[in-house]
């Protein structure tokens, strides 16, 4: 059957959506289990832009044949993905309040039961190979995988990276959320990743480096690579873990946070004040 063209995204003011997504993440961290706050906050602009502007998706028909594919390889960023999917209309925003509660489908890592989630992820190093498979299956669609920078320590990432280039998957874009922190501290103090751009280049990728919180720069970086048959594109997005909450920004301890009701209210007030200041 031929799928109808996906619905155009709603007229969206991207900074406003991103702001709401951050508020959702804070509220989810005030749920019974807390959540991966830092690595969700660093993704907000990337996922907002993908779902509201770049990708062909149709929330009414998540399995439409002509959709683009998104894989959140760093599955611990699930809260950000859920919030963006809900904002985009894949499921009611109200359901976000159920995050991590017993019986909810919103688990701490993405699960396929959630409309819009293509693949369950969370064990690191899986997403790029999955995206390769989707990209091989239909070269007419674009496939995106978002990887954490610490995740690049997994060898399977580089198995897949070699294959993406060898298969000429010009329809594939890997975005590295380069927030420079993993659970134990700076990535460069663990198993360092630099020179990161050169590493991807040496595997046959076109590399674009950008400020991962700048919609304009991200928009350019996520543009198709022209032919669609050339090398895959790696976008190294420089981001800040915990972005939006100054007390947690670039802090190792932001990796996982359980916020009390008061802490959440304070955090929301901080986000709103920032939004007002930034707001034109």
């Amino acid at each position: 059957m031929g799928a109808a063209a996906p619905a155009d995204p709603p007229e969206a003011d991207l900074p406003t959506v991103a702001h709401r997504v951050r508020e959702h993440i804070v509220r989810m961290c005030a749920g019974p289990e807390g959540g991966h706050l830092g690595g969700s906050m660093s993704l907000v602009e990337i996922l907002t832009l993908l779902y509201f502007e770049v990708m062909r998706v149709d929330p009414r028909r998540p399995a439409a044949l002509d959709r683009d594919i998104f894989i959140l390889s760093k599955g611990h960023g699930a809260m950000c993905l859920y919030a963006v999917l809900a904002e985009r209309g894949f499921f009611p925003v109200a359901e976000l309040a159920e995050y991590s509660r017993p019986g909810s489908r919103l688990m701490g890592h993405p699960v396929r039961a959630v409309p819009g989630v293509e693949m369950p992820t969370g064990s690191l190093g899986h997403g790029l190979a999955l995206a390769n498979g989707f990209a091989v299956a239909d070269r007419g669609r674009r496939c995106f995988a978002v990887l954490g920078d610490g995740e690049l320590q997994e060898g399977a990432v580089w198995e897949a990276a070699m294959a993406s280039a060898a298969l000429g998957l010009g329809n594939l874009t890997a975005v590295v959320d380069r927030n420079r922190l993993q659970i134990t501290g700076p990535t460069e103090d663990a198993i360092g990743l630099e020179p990161l751009a050169d590493r991807w280049r040496s595997f046959g990728w076109t590399v674009r480096e950008v400020d991962g919180h700048d919609f304009g720069a991200l928009r350019e970086a996520l543009a198709p690579n022209g032919t669609g048959a050339g090398p895959p594109v790696a976008v190294i997005a420089r981001t800040v873990k915990g972005r939006g909450l100054p007390s947690l920004e670039a802090e190792t301890r932001s990796h996982y946070a359980r916020l009390s009701g008061r802490q959440a209210e304070r955090s929301l007030a901080v986000l709103q004040a920032r939004r007002r200041r930034a707001g034109s």
Binding site: E118, S123, A129, L130, N132, G155, E159, A160, A163
Partner: protein
């Protein structure tokens, strides 16, 4: 002594699979062949199905993940690697990317059991059946000969969920010679190769099944009537056949080219414990890695996966005397 089975046209299951897959792919555009530098396939064989043969190199995790992405896009990938690399190196990708999503990926694993022979324990797959049958929704098949391997590949192409097909390495005798009239091979349905009420022998894989049949014939010479079941599908297991084989007997001997834990013997013991409690003696690889070189036949003999071991285990159950020819001192404690 039975008639020398299958000496007429020995074929390897791998060759049958190699020749069959391009044919199946021509008939069904959803089928892909994902290779991992096995050397089994020639790209030219897929000239008529351009873009659907991918050699992804020596990278088994990537192989399984790519297969999952393809399958989630409506395709049916056949993935080929050695059993040991599928079931251990790539296990997490199989569990999460394939089983969790219930995707129709077919893993055709070569060099099952001790088939890699002198190449040693890094290349022996003696845990794969335990591992694969633990995964929800997986069909797990161990064809008894090359013809059954072809049937297994053909039939599993149509399954809705994931499948694991374990093949050996070299040519093995055709079972028809040892068990004429066994009936068609059908995934999920055990084959009755002998019927007898004193003891039951349940086996999977070419060498174990032959050992089971030969043991039954040897037992018959001693007046012991043994049933022989080719339990080629470990999941979904043919519970009715296992129960029927066990009922009224002195017990069940299982035979497999696998560690004794968790494979065929484990599956049969679980099944009987639930449905028809019976004594079970497990003939399989003892709790050790191979510590000497040797071909598959040598290793099977050395570690007691033999006709003699099956006879001994059966006689032990039926209260007869031991006639076993095993080198495994542990067998009496099976």
């Amino acid at each position: 002594m039975t008639a020398a089975p299958g000496t007429a046209r020995p074929r390897s299951a791998r060759e049958v699979y190699r020749d069959l897959l391009p044919e199946l792919m021509r008939a069904d555009h959803r089928l892909f062949c994902l290779d991992s530098d096995t050397g089994l396939f020639e790209a030219a064989a897929f000239a008529e199905v351009p873009g659907r043969y991918l050699n992804l190199g020596i990278a088994e995790h990537n192989l399984m993940g790519t297969a999952a992405g393809l399958a989630a896009s409506g395709n049916v990938p056949f993935v080929t690697t050695m059993a040991t690399f599928a079931a251990t190196r790539a296990l997490e990708a199989i569990k999460i990317d394939i089983a969790y999503n219930a995707l129709p990926v077919r893993i055709v694993a070569t060099h099952g059991g001790l088939a890699a022979g002198h190449l040693g324990p890094t290349h022996h797959a003696l845990e794969d059946l335990a591992v694969m049958r633990a995964l929800p929704g997986f069909t797990v098949v161990v064809p008894g000969d090359a013809g059954q391997a072809g049937e297994a590949v053909r039939q599993c192409a149509a399954l809705p969920g994931p499948a694991y097909v374990r093949l050996g390495r070299s040519a093995t005798p055709d079972l028809d010679g040892a068990a004429p009239g066994a009936g068609p091979f059908e995934i999920g349905r055990a084959q009755w190769l002998r019927r007898g009420g004193d003891v039951a022998i349940v086996a999977c894989g070419p060498h174990p099944v032959l050992a089971a049949v030969r043991a039954a014939d040897r037992l018959a010479e001693r007046g012991v009537r043994a049933s022989v079941l080719n339990l080629h599908t470990l999941r979904p297991l043919d519970v009715a056949a296992v129960v029927a084989a066990a009922e009224g007997t002195a017990g069940v001997v299982t035979v497999e080219e696998h560690w004794r834990s968790g494979g065929l013997g484990g599956a049969v013991a679980e099944t009987l414990a639930e449905h028809a409690p019976a004594r079970v003696a497990r003939v399989g690889m003892p709790d050790t890695f191979a510590e000497r070189a040797g071909g598959q036949e040598y290793l099977l003999d050395r570690y007691g996966i033999t006709t003699g071991a099956v006879v001994a285990a059966a006689l032990n159950l039926t209260g007869g005397t031991h006639g076993g020819g095993t080198h495994d001192p542990d067998l009496s404690r099976v």
